[in-house]
Symmetry: C2
């Protein structure tokens, strides 16, 4: 029986992730005795393992080790942490994604110009923690999913200047919904300034995944279980109503899934490397034949 496999256009590494890994490779080549990244360079355990073989090691506590060169990961880090690192006197190489950097810069600009900054995103995510650190003391993270819009009522400065930015990987539809809710909650305001800090690559991947999910009866979503954008892709597919599995690598695929499906879609998060996607597709093909 013939079965179709459709790979979503733009699945896998995004621009910021590619860039961070390239930087890590380059730096590792120059330092024969190893370099360090503060936290995992990207949210994918397989890539982090591969990089270890090349001498790139993630660390959480920089004070314990004698570090010569430190790479800032793609998600960025809080401002205070950066100041702390620079005090250590080691060489700092910034692999923060330029989209995240833009959000950090805008957060800092808005706070400096006395806006009440609102960040649409997940406050537990390292990217958001980093952006928040630049957004001033009054800044608030809004995540509709967690019903935090009620928090808005408690902000005393919300009738003045409001600046809104977003975690780069949020879907535009959710951002619009939250912006509408913020506007509707206002009895008064002086100014609302909304900067688009969303990443085009993420929204394009979501859009293409949606298209494929609508025409298959099984979706395989490949990426780290701790990757927010991969989880988002899996949730989107489930919402559409298609049977969906979120896996980290080809080993996890069950023969039964493939046997009971006619048309299979494959997508992958921004931190999933091409070789893992290839392995997944090969495994699916093997089960079909």
């Amino acid at each position: 029986m013939k079965k179709d496999i459709i790979l979503v256009e733009g699945a896998g590494f995004c621009f910021g992730v590619k860039r961070a890994i390239d930087i890590a490779f380059d730096v590792a080549k120059r330092h024969k005795d190893g370099v360090f990244t503060l936290g995992p360079i990207i949210h994918n355990p397989q890539v982090v393992e591969k990089l270890k073989e090349l001498g790139v090691y993630p660390v959480d506590d920089i004070s314990q080790k004698n570090i010569e060169t430190l790479i800032i990961r793609a998600h960025g880090i809080p401002k205070e942490k950066l100041i702390e690192i620079k005090k250590l006197g080691c060489e700092v190489i910034d692999a923060t994604c330029p989209f995240v950097k833009k959000a950090q810069n805008l957060a800092e600009k808005l706070a400096y110009e006395d806006y009440q900054v609102l960040i649409i995103g997940d406050k537990e995510h390292p990217e958001v923690k980093g952006i928040l650190s630049y957004a001033g003391e009054k800044a608030v993270v809004i995540n509709y999913a967690q019903n935090e819009l009620t928090e808005l009522e408690k902000i005393p400065t919300l009738d003045k200047k409001i600046g809104i930015i977003q975690q780069t990987t949020q879907p535009l539809s959710k951002v619009k919904e939250i912006m509408n809710k913020i506007i509707n909650s206002l009895d008064e305001f002086e100014e609302i300034r909304i900067f688009n800090t969303l990443c085009n690559f993420t929204s394009k991947r979501l859009e293409e995944t949606k298209k494929v999910a609508q025409e298959v009866d099984l979706m395989i979503v490949v990426g780290g279980k701790n990757s927010a954008n991969t989880t988002q892709l899996a949730n989107l597919c489930r919402k559409i109503g298609v049977k969906t599995y979120h896996i980290e690598d080809a080993q996890e695929i069950d023969k039964e899934w493939i046997e009971s499906a006619k048309k299979i879609g494959v997508t992958a998060g921004a931190s999933t490397p091409q070789w893992i996607i290839n392995e997944v597709i090969d495994k699916i093909k093997k089960f079909i034949n």
Copy 2:
């Protein structure tokens, strides 16, 4: 039979109208042979008539007369008109409402900084024509009531920087609704900057009128038939479902209206003077007794 009359708090002259009339009085005192205003100084024919007795005359065509001193009315005028007047060499006294002036200044600033300016308001209103003249060539007036939101789709620069301001007398609820629709219509954007150019006096008057309209069975709305904010008050009362009459002065009141009502509310637009409101109340009282 006892009947209640409730006068809405804040009915009548607003800050900008009071200021414009005070300026006209002052200037008229200094010029024994009369001064001119470009268009009626405010939207109330009775006040304009009274001012004529004091030597303040509205003109539409300034080129025909030998004008020494010209007063700019409360609603403001288009930028080109101001330049034209200044070329005539006459003394120009600006009685533009400071709230309108703020909207004009923000329109100019946004256009200068390359925002696509959107003005929420009635494009036929002189205030909006004035603001529009400062908002750059690409500027568009949006009036939900006239279904002009479809116009948004035709604007090629809407995916870039958008600046939004409002006609000062628009109700906040309508402005929020239109802002939501603008946000929902966007597939992409770079920045959205919304300045609140609404007049507090107008929104307060609308709010207080709403309260009174909900507890009476007849509303008398006093103000010029060409006054947008008075018409807005009348529409608000009708929407609530209370029997409503929009009148310009006490002469228009019909005895039958009063006889069939138990509780009567009175409100008045921003350009309605206190003496007209007093006459209206006296007339109602006369019909009651």
